[in-house]
Subunit: 235 residues, 2 copies
Amino acid sequence: MSAASQSRPLRADAARNRQLLLDAAAMIFAEHGMQASVAQIARQAGIAKGTVFRHFPTKDDLVAAIVCDQLDYLSAAGTALSDAADPTAALLEFMTSVVELQTRDRSLCQAAVGIFQDNQEIQACADRLTKITEILTERARLQGGIRGDVTGQDVILLLRGVYQAAAPLSDRQPTLWRRFLAVVFEGLRSPAAYPLPLPAPDLFRSPLGDGQSPPGARAPTSLQIRDDRGNSEEP
Amino acid sequence: MSAASQSRPLRADAARNRQLLLDAAAMIFAEHGMQASVAQIARQAGIAKGTVFRHFPTKDDLVAAIVCDQLDYLSAAGTALSDAADPTAALLEFMTSVVELQTRDRSLCQAAVGIFQDNQEIQACADRLTKITEILTERARLQGGIRGDVTGQDVILLLRGVYQAAAPLSDRQPTLWRRFLAVVFEGLRSPAAYPLPLPAPDLFRSPLGDGQSPPGARAPTSLQIRDDRGNSEEP
DNA sequence: ACCTGAACACCGTTCAAGT
DNA sequence: ACCTGAACACCGTTCAAGT
């Protein structure tokens, strides 16, 4: 379902092997994270190691394919909530789903850091997810449930943070992320006591801000105590 | 300075090599993260690869030694702030320092997940840091600056989250973490709109809660929308 | 005691040889 | 076209041989 509509259709055995490979990879990455070996996945799928690299030129590409499926799943979950009666509650429910999936699949969050940057396919999926998150965020913002200077980008990245905050204890306290999600959501709530420092993050094309600029950008430095020479990009 | 006071002193050349090794490792880990190869570090230090494993039985132990130094640095920074005039501002300044160090040294945060669990040395350092963080947190709490159900454990783990949230964009927007730190700190502020779900995390010995129990534990489920069957530990 | 470098079992990746 | 498995350059780790 991920990158199927390319060139001409695969040969029967190739298509079969590809599916076996994807299934095996999804299973093993979910359990052991993306540091699981290609050999292990190939064994699980019942194909030769070399075949893996025929379907995906690099291990990262294989991870990317799996991650894309999950990002799309989250995009769908977000879309389903995009006309909910209570936008703020919908946003929280969406955020819950995102962290929940991360805890179920260890590779999702790991992959985000390493591959996000240059992988084309994952970029497209991430963009879709960002877009729907932006919609949910804006609805909650217009409802007055969350502060005015928060963007969908903020939300997505913060959800990565929520999962990672709880990750060190995930085996001993597997639902601890709910606590941290509550803290973060509390921080997003209206009314805002202090404006956020720095402009909102921008995952998209341009180095910083083009097209529709994010709403709450360029707030004064607020409560930052140490010297923060504001929004200097590259040093 | 880390684990020096063990058994009898090292031979002159061994002590010298150990220091060269630690310096090289600190430099290279900071720059490339802990996935930098042992060979690279040995080369930088000007010693043989085998010598690395004579001083540190495993690569993780080497990482742990470096990380411990940094945890101790943060503990010292926290101690220096433990009698500041404004406890809430002190806590925020401390939190800023912690995230700042993580952005300067990529290995710190990475190591926390993988090694925290079973490494003795790192446990001791982390415990010290947790203790001083607890002190700073309690002072801010008593001042009324942050909500009553937040612990030092929460703060430490959330700081990991703040860094990780900003990590995917750290090369393009290197100070973005300040924005996310502001969101999280806002979530910790008083007064609390809703109580936090789940008991506070507990990095220490016991599976859950012994000795001095954390303050705000066992709050009702608050705003969680989806089914959260509360604080069930192992499923 | 400590250092060294060859050796080992792994890893991701490549590619000639098969069907 | 696609699959296979041997081969390659790497990795962390071990250890006999040196001083």
